[in-house]
């Protein structure tokens, strides 16, 4: 999967991004805050989530972080490479560090999410 351009993605306040094709990952800002990602747990293919439900777990040396489904839908693919090599989340948050792919149940839902510019403002104006 080629790298996503963050300018084409939508962002949640909990730092997930979702691409037009339904790929989900963690923002560059979040991976920098978490620092070394050493464990990733992904949902099962076929599992359905509502927007905002915990769908995956990313752990650093010291803490665990829930990853929430940015939009509602069914998981159609997961990135097993990132399970084997969690550092990909740090190395390439918009590329090989993607987490899972969701078949969007409601295309309008992501309009409520931030675009990249607004997300960058969001993370720079406050400590998140």
């Amino acid at each position: 999967m080629s790298d996503k351009n963050p300018n084409d993605c939508r962002f949640t306040k909990s730092h997930e991004w979702v691409a037009v094709d339904g790929t989900v990952g963690l923002s560059d800002h979040a991976q920098k805050e978490i620092t070394d990602v050493v464990f990733v747990e992904l949902p099962k293919v076929g599992k359905e989530f509502k927007a905002g439900e915990a769908a995956a777990v990313v752990e650093s040396v010291k803490a665990a972080f829930d990853i929430y489904a940015p939009v509602s839908g069914k998981v159609t693919k997961v990135n097993n490479d990132v399970v084997k090599n969690p550092a990909l989340v740090n190395q390439s948050p918009y590329g090989t560090g993607w987490l899972f792919h969701i078949e969007k149940a409601n295309a309008a839902e992501e309009n409520a999410l931030m675009n990249h510019g607004d997300y960058q403002k969001f993370v720079s104006t406050d400590e998140h």
Partner: protein, 352 residues
């Protein structure tokens, strides 16, 4: 120098400067420099100092001959651990106790209470600062600022001059690596810190925070007060029987420990490695055959092992290498297996 800062018992302390893994690896392979000024420094001195301490702690204080230190536990009457401390014999009839930040107030009150009527003074060094230089390059770096530091034996302590500045230096640490710790009033130690940073620049010295300090100590299964040790657990349960010297005479908590030893231990600290499911953290529940049997005291990812490890109190019968556990953390379940401690042992270099 920057870094993520946390408040730790009133001290502003760096958790990490770069990443925990990088700092951890620097300490295992080169050297790391930690600010450990949060540790309490308590001086006990006077003609009764040795017999007084002897009655207060588990280890034999006579093993701390002049210029040496011993690790020991301060127990309550029930054998529970009030604190785990280092006792350095710094001068004739004078000892420096290094105590945990979280226990400083309780320790000083406890020691002072028992000092009443004895010919001994108990004084806390309120401006005492401390730094730890740890790792295989640590001694070489320290020797650059003061060559005679390299002559300190393991657990040795002595005063050294770095330029105009005097500092106590001990060949001890909390990482499983060789290294030294410096104790002095804060203004003096700033000078030492800068000298070490300069001396270490070409030897891979990295600043290191509390995060790496915790992963390093967990890998070598050193206990952390508040995790493995507290007033409800004894040193025997914590697997630290070597800290208790039965041949030294009486000390507070001895009778309770003897009783526990004779009755056999009901629970014990066990080390485990996670086989699947994530990283267990402090407070997670240990489950065997569907029953809650214990609690995780420390759990972390271990950078030197590329694995998740942890320590837990479980019934003694389950504290055997190879025992399988489930670990429940919130809604998550992990599988783990009991392993031998320490998790990490320094590879012994091949003899030339």
């Amino acid at each position: 120098m920057g870094g993520k800062i946390v408040d730790f018992h009133g001290w502003e302390l760096p958790v990490q400067f770069t990443t925990i893994t990088q700092e951890h690896t620097a300490v295992r392979e080169k050297a790391g420099l930690f600010d450990i000024s949060h540790m309490g420094q308590v001086f006990v001195w006077g003609p009764d100092a040795e017999p007084f301490l002897q009655g207060l702690v588990t280890n034999d204080v006579r093993r701390a001959t002049l210029g040496k230190g011993v690790y020991a536990h301060l127990l309550n009457e029930k054998g529970g651990v009030i604190d785990d401390i280092f006792i350095y014999h710094v001068e004739e009839q004078k000892y420096l106790l290094i105590v945990n930040a979280s226990r400083r107030v309780e320790d000083v009150a406890w020691i002072q209470k028992h000092a009443a009527g004895k010919n001994v003074a108990v004084v806390e060094a309120t401006v005492g600062a401390a730094i730890a230089l740890q790792g295989p390059e640590a001694i070489a770096i320290a020797a650059r600022v003061c060559p005679s530091i390299a002559d300190l034996p393991r657990f040795g302590i002595a005063e050294f001059s770095i330029g105009e500045t005097k500092t106590l230096v001990a060949r001890t640490g909390y990482t499983g690596e060789d290294g030294v710790e410096f104790f002095a009033p804060a203004p003096h130690l700033t000078v030492v810190f800068d000298a070490l940073v300069a001396a270490g620049a070409s030897r891979g010295l990295s600043p290191a925070g509390l995060g790496a300090r915790d992963t390093l100590r967990t890998e070598v299964a050193y206990p952390l007060y508040g995790n493995e040790l507290d007033e409800d657990h004894t040193p025997l349960e914590a697997g630290l029987a070597w800290v208790v010297r039965w041949d030294k005479g009486d000390f507070i908590g001895r009778a309770a420990l003897e009783k526990q030893k004779n009755a056999g231990l009901a629970r014990k600290l066990v080390g485990f490695r996670i086989e699947a499911g994530g990283i267990a953290r402090h407070g997670a529940t240990v489950v065997v055959d569907g029953k809650d049997v214990g609690v995780v005291t420390s759990g972390t990812y271990a950078p030197s092992l590329s694995a998740a490890i942890g320590l837990a109190y479980v019934p003694a019968a389950l504290a055997t290498v190879g025992q399988k556990f489930q670990i429940r953390q919130g809604t998550r379940e992990m599988s783990a297996i009991a392993v031998k401690l320490p998790f990490y042992a320094k590879p012994v270099p091949a003899k030339a």
